[in-house]
Symmetry: none
Subunit: 257 residues, 2 copies
DNA sequence: CTTGACCCTGACGCCGCGTGATAGGCCAGA
DNA sequence: TCTGGCCTATCACGCGGCGTCAGGGTCAAG
């Protein structure tokens, strides 16, 4: 039975020796045996346990929780993961908001680098209400009014510009493709799904050209805001918004700058 | 000149008294004066400085950096923000990956709540972890991918929150009502149409409570922007977005503040 | 036996405060 | 003027997850 010293385990697992000491100290990972010289020796079993620990650590579980989860084999890991997922999702959302705040602030910075107090606080701590408004303004600009007035006549007079009708039809098509891919159980990074997302991206570029982050953000928006989500999560297509959001994230990461 | 005690400042700004003590201690926010009794008294200027501090704190700047930024008025805040933005973006991206890892893991969880070692490490991605993954693959083989793909179906089959499903269904219903009204040739200010719009307004208030102008603006957005319009202008319902937009404008003017 | 690379324990530091403990100040009512 | 109740102050420990010395023992090769 092979035994590993701290530095060997450290090299294999990527953690520091100090971390192994610490994990021993808090009772998270005890060495298989500790010889008369006080040296820690780990076996295969401990390596496997360490893997699990690192998995949960990566997901930002507190080590104390990790200890509890691993201590009880009958513990409902799925439930723990789901609960934790919710917290992570909040954090992710929070980071997204912070990025927007920075972007707005940068946009509002005057040439001399000063910023007004109004600017600096806009969008902070806003109860979820403001968030939606912010999104709309961010995405579609606030010169909306004029553009709308201007284009209104055309759209309404003709009872529908054929070009626009085509665009709407395209959106329906893409949606159908995505729904089909999801129902087939294809992973979000499958070729077919990504092809559909590519069509979606092309479609989006007719009115907006998002970069990597924005496009992934758009996917989140589809998922998180009912006013978008209603288009995707229709009866018989439950979970499509989530599916699309993930697929868009993958697409963004792989293809966009 | 008005002076505020610690608890007053705390109440106004939302930070704790302890935080004010701490900011004094580290030289981040000194009170305007400290009377013979040792009490801290803050003036308007300090309040404004606190605002700035909280802005940067919210963005997760280390307090030491905040101090430096505020200390030098000629400091390039824009540059600092841009640099910081990059870090935040990385973090945001990281959280997104963690969510995906959790989703994959949940999909792979067996009914009894155990998870296989293959599953448990998939998706870890820090540079150091890459080595670790390699090590894992060496040890456990690389038949992981198929299993992951295969199990994704389960996740999607699981369905979603019934509350959300209900909200999505409501949106569909409202849409059907509106389409019916339009096809009957009812004017936008007809009772039936306005009733449907009212339902729509109620639906919107589950995530946002717009005032008159905002609600009318939302209608225009539905019309102007393909990403919304695609939900309304479906085949056989051409012009519904325009119809709804006008009906919403009427509703807003008549009923909202 | 020496050398150098390992191993140990113990302790402090980090950051942004929360949470006491202990002691004194301020102001209104009796 | 005294009392009580609520302010204020400072000092100090604690959290999490280790990094980073300091000071000393151990192991294996030459």
């Amino acid at each position: 039975m092979k035994r590993y010293t701290v530095s060997e385990v450290a090299r294999m697992s990527g953690v520091s020796v100090r971390t192994l000491h610490y994990y021993d100290q808090i009772g998270l990972l005890r060495p298989a045996e500790q010889g008369g010289n006080g040296y820690r020796y780990y076996g295969r079993e401990e390596l496997l346990r360490l893997q699990q620990i690192l998995f949960y650590r990566e997901l930002k579980f507190p080590l104390e929780d990790v200890r509890r989860i691993l201590a009880a084999p009958d513990f409902d890991r799925a439930e723990a993961l789901r609960a934790h997922r919710a917290r992570l999702a909040e954090e992710a959302e929070n980071y997204r908001r912070l990025l927007q705040t920075i972007d707005r602030t940068l946009a509002d910075l005057n040439g001399d680098g000063t910023m007004s107090d109004d600017d600096i606080f806009y969008g902070l701590n806003s109860p979820r209400q403001k968030e939606y408004e912010t999104w709309l303004v961010d995405r579609f600009g606030d010169g909306m009014q004029e553009k709308i007035d201007e284009s209104r006549a055309k759209l309404q007079a003709a009872g529908g510009d054929p070009k626009i009708q085509a665009a709407m039809g395209e959106a329906q098509d893409i949606n159908a493709d995505l729904a089909a891919a999801m129902k087939k159980g294809l992973p979000v990074d499958s070729e077919e799904t990504q092809a559909a997302v590519h069509r979606h991206y092309q479609w989006v570029t007719t009115f907006w050209t998002p970069d990597r982050e924005s496009y992934a953000g758009l996917g989140q928006l589809y998922l998180e805001h009912p006013d978008f989500r209603k288009f995707y999560d229709t009866p018989g297509r439950d979970g499509l918004a989530a599916y699309l959001a993930e697929a868009m994230a993958v697409y963004a990461e792989r293809t966009l700058a």
